[in-house]
Structures are given as C-alpha cells and as structure tokens.
Symmetry: C2
Subunit: 288 residues, 2 copies
C-alpha cells in the first residue's frame, strides 16, 4: 500500500464512457459542460432547445456513479437567444430533480474580468452559475478547509505572511515559527459565502481553460478529503484534474477531443485509458 494518487484520463464521449465507471464510487463531480451552441469549433455545439434532452442521460449516469455522500457541482450559464436569456438551465434543474437529484444550492462565480463588449440593451455578463446537486441530504462538507481571512485589513497582511510562511515551510520544516503563524491565521478566519469572486485565466496557454484552477480547487477542498475520487466528465484542458492532483485526490477525466486529451496526458502524467483496459483494472478505489 502506497499513498500514490491516481489521475486517469479517458478519451471519448462521456455519454458512453461513464458506463465504465462503478456505481457509488465518486465523491465529487466538478464539471463545466460545453454551453449550448458555444465552442462550436471544438465541441459539436448543442442547440439551446435540445440542451436538456442531451444532458439528462449524462446526469443520470452521474447520479449512478456518485456516492450517496457525494456532491455534483455543475458550472453553467444560459446564453442569450433573440434578446432573451434562454430557459434551458431552469428546465434542466427542474428535470434533474425529477431524476432524483437534490438541488441543494446555487453558488455564484462572480468574474473579476468578464468578456468585453457593449450593446444597447445589455451589460457585460460577469457571473456564472455553480449548481450544487446531491444524491442525498447527508453529504460530506468540510467547511474548515475553505475558511478565509477576515476583512480587507487582514487580507493584505495575510497574503504577505502566507508567502513568507510558504518559503519558511519549504526551508525549515517544523521550526515552531509556522505554528505561531497558523494560530494567528486561525483567529482571523471566517467562513466564506456562496459567492466566489475570481478572475478568469485568459491568454496564457495554448488551450486556455474556461475556468480558473482556483474554482475546482475550492470545491474539491470543500467536498472531499485526501484520497477521495474526483470526476470531470468534460475534462477539457484538465483544470479539475490538476487541482485534484495538487490536493492529493484521485481523479478521473473524460474528454472527447483528442487535442485536449493530449494536453492532459502531457501535463498531468497519468494512467491512460489503455493501461486501464490492458490490466482489466477499472479505477479501483484501493491504492496500489
């Protein structure tokens, strides 16, 4: 038994590939499916009127693979169609509840930097939904893992201190000084709210992510613990998996597009699908 963390990437359509995963095996699903008719060049693009119909079979599979104590976070935003916000997200929530999901909460991602533009009838859209669904009303939530510094005054000081602390932590492990710092930090921490104020990461990489790594990171901390299993059925460039690795969680990503798959293989250093099937080992939950 080692403490090795697994990151498994599957190339293919999650509509089919989810069938390979076992029942009640995933602790957190965090994903951002392609929005309706968006990203046409990389994904097919689903018409807004058919979006719910397309997504429901997938969400049914997600319900199957999720542990009863697990959580599903769905990052989504309805687009504007003919001057109106389309209602497919509303309809999806209603239909997923019929499917057996509990719609526990709606978090908001308030984007620091949103897309530019000016229109006579509309301002720039600077927020997205992070819908929390659960399989049961008893789910795991580790609130202490995402506590925040209190107030603006503390924020600036904490930033500097935490950076200093990091460096010290690397050079001198267990010097006793870090403990003082952490005590000081604890006293100045508060629980966050259901609004996340984060910037998008844009213009840095070949395949830029649709959300910053801090987003999955926050939810992974909140809803899982070390060694738990995280799933992203629309893995894209792998932000969710990267965050999971960083936090020592096992993870599975499914991605239909070869380019993104390659990016993940190169970036994450993973157990590939081939390995899985050659060994006839599914994503076993025990460690090697």
């Amino acid at each position: 038994m080692s403490l090795a963390i697994k990151t498994k990437i599957i190339l293919g359509d999650c509509s089919y590939k989810l069938g390979e995963l076992e029942d009640n095996s995933i602790d957190l699903i965090f994903t951002s499916p392609p929005y309706a008719d968006q990203r046409k060049n990389t994904y097919g693009g689903t018409h807004p009127d058919k979006y719910v119909q397309w997504f429901l079979p997938i969400s049914k599979e997600l319900l199957r693979v999720l542990k009863p104590s697990g959580t599903f976070i769905l990052n989504i935003k309805e687009r504007v169609v003919k001057g109106e916000r389309h209602i497919y997200v509303m309809e999806l929530i209603i239909e997923m509840r019929r499917q057996g999901w509990f719609w526990t909460e709606e978090f908001i991602w308030h984007k620091k930097n949103c897309y530019p533009g000016k229109w006579p009838n509309r301002f720039r859209d600077s927020w997205e939904r992070l819908l929390q669904f659960n399989k049961s009303k008893k789910f795991h939530m580790y609130q202490d893992a995402v506590m925040l510094p209190v107030g603006d005054w503390a924020k600036t000081r904490l930033k500097k201190l935490s950076e200093t602390d990091k460096r010290r932590d690397e050079s001198r492990v267990g010097s006793g000084f870090g403990k003082n710092i952490s005590n000081w930090l604890d006293r100045n921490k508060a629980y966050p709210t259901n609004v996340l104020y984060l910037a998008t990461e844009c213009g840095n990489k070949n395949h830029s992510a649709v959300f910053p790594e801090a987003l999955p990171e926050w939810f992974i901390k909140l809803f899982t613990k070390d060694g738990d299993w995280v799933l992203d059925p629309f893995a894209g460039s792998g932000s969710t998996l990267k965050a999971a690795q960083k936090l020592k969680r096992n993870s599975i990503g499914i991605e239909i597009h070869q380019d993104y798959y390659d990016v993940m293989i190169n970036t994450l250093g993973t157990i590939k699908q081939q390995y899985l099937f050659e060994k006839k080992a599914k994503y076993e939950t025990h460690s090697d």
Copy 2:
C-alpha cells in the same frame, strides 16, 4: 404646468389595487415581493408550492400597466425548503414567459454584508436575483446614467492620455483643448456589468428595508428618465419611492400593511389614496 413630481401611495392588496392603474402607463416596475413563507407576521405568507399560482395574476396586471418600452425588475430569491433550494423562482420565470413577458436578463445583487449564521451543510447566502422582464424587445435603457469610474487599468492609460494632452497643450495653446479634456473624462468611466456589489442597509430603523435604496436607484437611473413613472406594488417602507423622488421620477406605491403605509405617508409627504379618489383623479401622467 409645474415640474412637480408626484408620489402616490395606495393602501391595499396589489392583487386588487393594480386594477385602478391605466394600461401602458408605467415606465419601470421595481419590487421585492414578500418571499415565500418568509414574512409570515406582516404578510399572509405564501407557501412555496403556491407561490407561482399566487404571483401570476399580479404579474399579468403588471404586464398590462407597463408601457411597451418599460421594464420590470423583480428582486427575488428562493428559500431553502427541506435542505433544497425551492424551484418556484424557476417555475415563475417559465410561466411569466408564457404570459407574454420577455426574460431579458438576470442581474445579481452580490451583498457586501450578508446575514450571519453557520450551518453544517450550507454557507451564508450573499446574493439575490434581480430578474429583468420586458414587454417588448425594444425597451428604454439609459446606460450612460450608471457609468462607473474605471479601475486600475485606466489609471495607466489615463496617465498616458494626460501626457499626450500636455504635449498637445504645449504645441497648440487653446485650440482643441476642451475637446481633449472631454475625451479624457469619457474614458475615465466604464459601463458596469450585470452584477451589483452593494451592502445591505443595517436595520437601524423601525421598519427596515429589504434592500438598500441604492438598488432601486440604480435601476431607476438605468431604465427611466426625469418625469417617468415608477411603480412598486409591494412598497414596504418605501425605498423604491424614496429613490424615485430623489431622482425626480413620479411614483406609485401599493402596500397592504397599515404600519408600512403610515411610515411612507410620514416619510415621503405624498398624495394619498383618499386624495386620488376624492378628486376622481387617477395617477394622471400630466403634471399639475
């Protein structure tokens, strides 16, 4: 003819009192109806399951009284029922669209200071919906009225512009200087987004408002001009009407509760319902 601004307050249930208003006469409806089961002591308290059914006749009347160029802003947030967010807001949006409303946009009120509290399965709720509905796709919007000072990005640019301006000033004294300045001022402002980051007003008063005055103020600036008509069918302590007065808009408030009605009468110095009926003058759109 004077430029006097009218503020009219009607005591009664808006389900009935809206019938007294003329068709196509209101430029902006801004309201925050009693949330489901939330204010049992002051209002009847509508059960979440019957909320849509209760609200639809009211929204039908609102559709009638609104000008085709007008806007309806609905401040609402679904409550948690048995560990889940209830879906009555989703259902309401879908049903109001069937009624003929366009669901143009969803603004978010991101609360700077939200209610304290701690629960094992949920963080504090720090946002509310501000649903924008329209009667037609051609509605009035005065975006310049709500422009904001630009952030850090502009500061650098501003520096450069002022330098350019200086050079121009040196080479051509007097000519075109004013024009440059006005460009400079214009560029100092940016359009806002669809997220409003405002603090709640702490309940220092007897009848605390459910939203800060800055909230209706922002939408009144954005969707009306001087002398337009603003309606709040759930006027409460009168924040909407106060903002309308301040901005020189005519307004009508309907309030079912005597206490709140009295507060408004004392605060706003208004034309009362009695006056209206004695004179047989409805809320005429011409000024006195």
